[in-house]
């Protein structure tokens, strides 16, 4: 681990020091577990009691906080972001050894940029180009003809299939698959015929793709993940989808083919989106939402069935099969009652 005084962190990260800037920090921690040498953080006044009780050596706090804390603080506009940057300084991740490990298999005409590191057992297909500073983890598979940008981080066992393209600073987590075939089938003479998938996956700068997420290559045109989009684990993106800039998608989401999601959307976990839809910018989907139509207005959309004790559910759910009948019965009651009401007594 690295060590910095609070004043040295301030010099790099900005903000205002409250208290003793000479305190030496060599780690980060949550408030409750912090100890000597550890930096913690506070996003708002909500956790003030916890912050006071913390043994953290120093805290990153919101500049707006007008309370005095018992430890030295770095007061900043955006404590979450500044603490993230401090973590990068104080807790550098273990890195691959420089160069390409002798067990890696690097194909013909592969171009490795300056400072590229390739881990044990990684396989890079013929003609692929890896940008300067990128790190290719253990047992990663990169097919032939791929373009990987600069300063990318492909964690162990990530997979990029032939011809796909990644921008700069892209992060791929273990087990994710970029460029598997889309699910293209033509029905012919009583059986499915495979439709070759010849598009690519094109991923923009600063995209992060979670563990075991799969992004299928386009059928003819490309599947596109725009710059700054962030995808969590176990997500399925089908062929020819497009995900807009800075859209964040939580785990277990599925998107069927040719659907487009706009920019700055937030898709909560397990949402499922049908194919050939158009979801506009700044849409939030809540957990488990099933989206089967276009969304043309920014806003929050939901479709979850609320949970309840199983016995209550048994009683209530049965009526879901008869809602139409219930509605008819209400209509009938209204008709009878209105008729009565209109009759002279």
């Amino acid at each position: 681990m690295a060590a910095f005084t609070l004043a040295e962190l301030q010099a790099r990260l900005g903000g205002e020091i409250r208290g003793d800037g000479s305190v030496l920090l060599d780690d980060v921690s949550s408030l409750s577990r912090a100890g000597a040498g550890q930096l913690g953080f506070l996003v708002s006044g909500k956790h003030l009691a916890e912050a006071r009780a913390s043994s953290a050596a120093a805290l990153v706090i919101p500049a707006s906080l007008d309370q005095t804390l018992p430890m030295p603080c770095l007061a900043v506009a955006n404590p979450h972001a500044v603490f993230a940057r401090a973590t990068t300084l104080l807790r550098p991740e273990p890195d691959l050894a420089p160069g390409a490990h002798p067990s890696a298999v690097i194909g013909d005409d592969v171009v490795l940029g300056e400072g590229v590191r390739v881990g044990p057992g990684a396989v890079i297909g013929a003609g692929s180009r890896i940008g300067a500073g990128s790190r290719i983890g253990a047992l990663v598979s990169i097919g032939p003809g791929c373009e990987i940008g600069r300063d990318c981080l492909l964690h162990a066992r990530a997979c990029v299939q032939h011809g796909c393209q990644l921008g700069d600073r892209v992060i791929l987590h273990p087990g994710c698959v970029i460029g598997s075939d889309g699910f293209g089938l033509a029905w012919e003479a009583g059986r499915w015929l495979k439709v070759p998938q010849v598009g690519r996956v094109v991923i923009g700068d600063d995209v992060e793709i979670g563990a075991n997420t799969t992004i299928d290559r386009g059928a003819l045109d490309d599947t596109v993940i725009e710059p700054g989009a962030k995808l969590d684990n176990l997500i399925h993106i089908a062929h020819n989808c497009r995900i807009g800039r800075h859209t964040a998608i939580a785990a277990c989401v599925g998107m069927a083919g040719s659907t487009q999601i706009g920019a700055n959307c937030q898709i909560a976990g397990a949402a499922m989106i049908s194919g050939h839809l158009d979801i506009c910018d700044r849409v939030t989907l809540t957990g488990g939402a099933l989206i089967a139509k276009d969304i043309r207005e920014p806003g929050t959309y939901s479709s979850a069935m609320p949970f309840m004790p199983h016995r209550e559910w048994l009683r209530n759910a049965a009526h879901l099969r008869h809602l139409d009948q219930m509605a008819q019965r209400i209509k009938e009651l209204e008709k009878v009652l209105y008729k009565q009401a209109q009759q002279p007594e």
Copy 2:
């Protein structure tokens, strides 16, 4: 890429040429992006305007189309299927080098059929047999005692566990796992005891399995995927399931143990099917359907909760916890009203 005249394609794929058969084609494309040398296609008259405006060098069109298009056309009964075959000719995928890469680890008594190709870092366990013409991608893991048919394509990082069996022309996409243990547990003395899973996975001819899909081996008997079934990405098939011929299953579907799905079914994305069920032939499930009982009649089944703006959802969803009460209140109203109606006034 390969190049063919339209007439050469017709000689291989059938159909009738309308226009100049000597046009040379060396690629495929979507209508909107097509350019010189590229073949496009049209499945129906629906996209006629787009076809007219396309710069494609030639198109595959339905024989039934009675309109004249500005470019040479190949008129066929099933344009989607013929275009798929043309794509295979015009855009051959990059292949592995002949033979077994020196970094591959091939166990004792492995039998590799004629023309088998094995990619870098692949591992094939003792006693496994790989049929002629099959290709085993980079970093694929095949356990001991497996049988892989002829002309199979195991993409990079696919995994087949010990003793499993694949038919001919099976395609496995990256990261899929065939033959992991089923989730078999016996409760004993306040804790779970693992129940060894000693069945196999048996996969028929012409099956395709998507990226990161998992198919568990049977507990005692086998898990079976019948010929021609097609599975998309991130699907879970539990132990002792059986999937019928030519059934297509979209991404993110889960099937619990010992469930059987018939032939020619279409299961849309994110459908979830409970264990020990029997789903008959020719059943369609729509996206997100939760199936908890047998289905004995062909047809389409659904259970999705429709999505709505979150504010509306908040208002509506609350009543789902009180549907039974609503039904009782309607009944009560009917009782009172009928009684009134029957009373002499």
Copy 3:
């Protein structure tokens, strides 16, 4: 395969022999497919007819069964558990060769305990420690600084990221990812900033993790899977979750960040649990349940929308958008009717 007489099995597993204990057994089978030399089992009197018709050489049966069967039987208190143990004896799984395969890449300062086996192409990062008797399958990736306990079984292509910790007898299935980064993002100046994830995943003794399941490392503190918990395939466990002892989670479940599940819970397939929740001990969730609030009482909870033929669903589902209106109309009817009833006629 190994062979044992029924009497030898009894000596190891307990129970009472009914019939000829000298019958030789060298395999296990389901009742319907059993033949010579094969041991079957019966959990209750429910499948008695099938047991009578079985060609099994012997059966494990419940001690409480007062019926005589045509084959020798081992009568025990818990037939499922005893049959599981018999299976382990009769059908040992293929094992890795002793020692470390020459193609494995073992980093500096790695400590391999006595009898550890390492398969082809596996990669173990610097400073990791593997406990005695553990087996590391083909193409497994273990990052630097990991602690793996004794007698663990990491199947082919499992992945453990740097610094994570596994107890004894942990089983990881192919493709699972332990210790990928949590989905931590801070919004800053119109884009997402990655929040480094510096916690670990800590997995207790006797835990089993299914194929392609992902468990994210904690943001600052650890993600914890307590001893005896069992997780099926394609599950997502987000950062800082905690799963209690002996809790079993079926496939396709997702858990968002910082949620805690108690001990002895049973979570059925495709349940989705929001973040920052507290689920108490002994909770059962049924398939597809969407849990968005704390659960403080043991019991069974559900939220599935029941499935129905699509035509019925179309009629019924439309009303879900108008439940609030329906409730208002019922209220109105009650008001009118009560008023009438209270009026003197």
